[in-house]
């Protein structure tokens, strides 16, 4: 990494901050524009109690002042405020707890998808048009075209209700197995197909012929010369994949009742837990922005022709 690349990364981080600020602003005002509020419930509370609550959380001030206060707290104290629904807990703590589970789910799913996808893709490419290739292609086509909520429901019926092999509750021991499988199947299938086609493309390139003409052994050609080149498109998919995993986990955590940030996000919206909505949105947005940056930098590492600027 020379100074030019470092500058690039700093520039991108600056842009990432800008993106997150835009997300904060838009979410904040849209959230308040939506009818309803955190203290409305079937059980009507008195006018004075409502006013007291609003005063306590600073919601009696004009919206723009609230917005400025919120930004100031984040920037100066990294304070996301208290949760309005889970009494006595700070948003940052709830997110921290949720992240622990969600990170496990997301990282394992991503690694699984990458490893299995690349290996299956390479196998399919090297056994092109044979039976192994055809089986892989049929299965991956099915996985690519199936949304995760259907996949999750099917797995739930099969493994939890029929076979009774795995728990259906994400918080139980081994409860993350099914969510991980559900979450990784789509990117895994996608990476398999991507690796297969780019591997086939690379194997037909002139420089592979050059390597053969040099007398390089077949295995070394595939894992040395071909693999590095065929991973380039896979790495460009890295960013979108992580974005998928982040958003996908929202659905999957809901299906399997995983106590993660995705579920916290959904319930905070249902509850109109304003500080909680803001907190989860910021974290998810920051995650996606940073992951895209990581994927762009990785791209440069694998392909020397790419200039970061």
């Amino acid at each position: 990494m020379n100074t030019k690349n470092l500058l690039y990364i700093l520039k991108r981080l600056g842009l990432a901050l800008l993106t997150v600020w835009v997300v904060i602003t838009v979410t904040f005002f849209v959230m308040h524009a939506v009818p309803g509020g955190p203290f409305l419930s079937e059980k009507a509370i008195s006018e004075s109690a409502m006013r007291a609550l609003e005063a306590k959380y600073g919601m009696d001030k004009p919206l723009f002042v609230q917005y400025l206060t919120y930004l100031k707290d984040i920037v100066t104290k990294f304070d996301f405020g208290p949760s309005l629904k889970q009494r006595g807990r700070m948003v940052i703590d709830i997110i921290g707890d949720g992240m622990r589970t969600s990170a496990k789910l997301g990282v394992i799913s991503a690694v699984l998808a990458l490893i299995v996808g690349v290996v299956l893709g390479a196998v399919a490419a090297l056994r092109r048009n044979r039976i192994v290739d055809k089986i892989i292609m049929v299965i991956t086509t099915a996985f690519v075209s199936m949304p995760s909520f259907i996949m999750g429901a099917l797995l739930l019926i099969l493994f939890v209700i029929k076979l009774r092999l795995l728990p259906g509750n994400g918080a139980a021991a081994g409860g993350l197995v099914l969510p991980i499988i559900t979450l990784s199947l789509y990117p895994m299938a996608y990476i398999t197909r991507l690796t297969r086609s780019s591997m086939l493309d690379v194997l037909g390139q002139d420089y592979i012929r050059t390597a053969r003409a040099k007398g390089v052994a077949k295995g070394k050609i595939i894992f040395g010369h071909a693999m590095k080149n065929s991973l380039i498109p896979v790495i460009t998919y890295f960013g979108p994949m992580l974005a998928y995993i982040v958003t996908g986990s929202i659905v999957v955590e809901q299906i399997f009742a995983v106590p993660g940030i995705g579920r916290a996000f959904v319930s905070s919206i249902i509850n109109r837990d304003y500080p909680m909505i803001m907190g989860t949105t910021i974290v998810l947005a920051a995650l996606i922005v940073v992951m895209n940056l990581v994927s762009d930098v990785l791209y440069k590492v694998v392909d020397p022709r790419i200039k970061l600027d």
Binding site: Y207, K214, G215, N229
Partner: protein
Amino acid sequence: MSLLSVKDLHTSFFTDAGEVRAVNGVSFELERGKILGIVGESGSGKSVTAYSIMQILAETGRIVGGSIKLDGQELVGAGEKVMRTVRGNRISIIFQDPMTSLNPTYTIGHQLIEAILLHTDRDKKQAYDRAVEMLRLVNVNEPERRMKQYPHEFSGGMRQRVMIAMALACEPDILIADEPTTALDVTIQAQILELMQSLHHARSGRRGAAVRRDHRDVRRLHLRAGDGGRDLLRAPPRLHARPAALDPERRERRTEAAADHGHADRPFEHAEGLSLCAALRRRDEDLHPRALRAAAGRPNAHGVVLAERARRGRIRKGGRERMSEQNNTPLVDIRHLKEYFYISTGPFTTKPLKAVDDVSFTIRRGETLGLVGESGCGKTTVGRTVLQLYKPTAGEIWYDGKQIKTAKDLKEFRTKATMVFQDPYSSLNPRMTVSDIIAEPLDVHHLCKTKEERRDRVLELMQYVGLNSEHASRYAHEFSGGQRQRIGIARSLAVNPEFIVCDEPVSALDVSIQAQVINMFGDLQDKLGLTYLFIAHDLLVVRHISDRIAVMYLGKMVELADADEIYNHPLHPYSRSLISAVPVPDPKIARANRRIALKGDIPSPLNAPSGCPFRTRCPHATEACAEAMPELKEVSAGHFVACHRTAELSD
């Protein structure tokens, strides 16, 4: 015993459509220290022969018969393990396209060292030293720095040098060169050929087979032409001997080799092979009478016709006649044409790429102006800007005494001036029938009132260009490259134009097809009184068809003169080197012309040198050349040169 002996080699590809026999019984012997040339048109099986020897055929290809013996050891059926010790070690190969033959994700050093470590006992440090030594041998400057770079940081010529270094790193017995210069620019071709000659010379133990499509460069030693994988032509090296700069002993060896083959008195055995030679031959005394007879009536005899026409100067004289019928006012008058493209160099900064920088010329009615130069010199941009496919950055375009200014002028201009494009494969819409493609200009300009009129016009146009009118309802992919270019020409003729810009119309075609198509341009000019701006990088092609020739370098016009004048007395150092790089099939002439190999690569037009753009590569450059761009001055009647040192150099 010969070093390499190929007997009755058969190689086939097994595709979904069935077996494709690419090589059909080829036999040859290659002796230590000799050079063997293999020529033939694309699809004739040259490269497949080479890949068969190395056994690096594509997955679907297989050697189905015959024998390949290296020093007596049979290679066919020897297995991967044996072949891996042969490849890169005893037999090496340089490929056609250096741009794609190096792995883009590894450094040059890594790729060189890999080859050395595979076949020698050297450790990593020694392999590194050897790699640096090899780069130095093929004249790569600063080899230590270059080792750390990736292929995309090298130009085409430099990459081909790296390929050569890689091929020679393990001291192979045989070097196969598979069209090693086809993908390169003319002056870079000259450098690479020179390098290969000197390497061969320096190590007389080295031997090689050169595979070339275009046999002008196989003056070295020409053995056979392939067609559908059969040997067709065995010509003695006498006809195609390389230029004399070599020692007499070598010449003797060549003559012996010719005698061995026993064909010295029968240079041509097949018209297919003949058309290749004839298409390129400029002097009819080179043509064996027997060969002429053999060629008569054959479909590929056009080449002979071309040679004949060129010899008698019919094309050129025809041009003069055509011109003298008209008054001498120019039909096309281009004044100070500039075309800049703005390339972004940062978020807020752009830099002009001066593709065409102040170019002026005129073309008289009925004349053909040839425009030559290497890639990136701006010749194609000139063609497109003249027709205003690009809006000129500055300058005036006058046509038939009127300046093209308004949209109305332009619309009218477009019915008189059309274009033939370089690539007949991508310039025809695959979703349209031939008749729709040809009729499109008619439709655009509403030139046909009725359907019958449109159909008759299409059939007439197809007849002009020698296409079977029954094929009007077919699609472009059903035609060969030469036929597609005829479709493109028919399209350009549809509006009955006076002026046609031909942008490298034959460079994508095989040599013998090139001759047919060029001939057709000549015939159409005679018949229809057309005026051409003929753009090409191939000087031989331009010479056949042009009345005058202009040479461009980095967006500037450096020389402009009559075709004969520029060939016989080129004045600009760049024109001289270009013309010296034109291979001459006749050894008598070739011996007299020493090839002038230019140093270095063509600079990027983004960072053109100050003053004279050619000074960085010019053998005669002085300090004055860096200061000012020389003007295009008339040195003798009709001969313009832009060089500060014309006066001193012309003696």
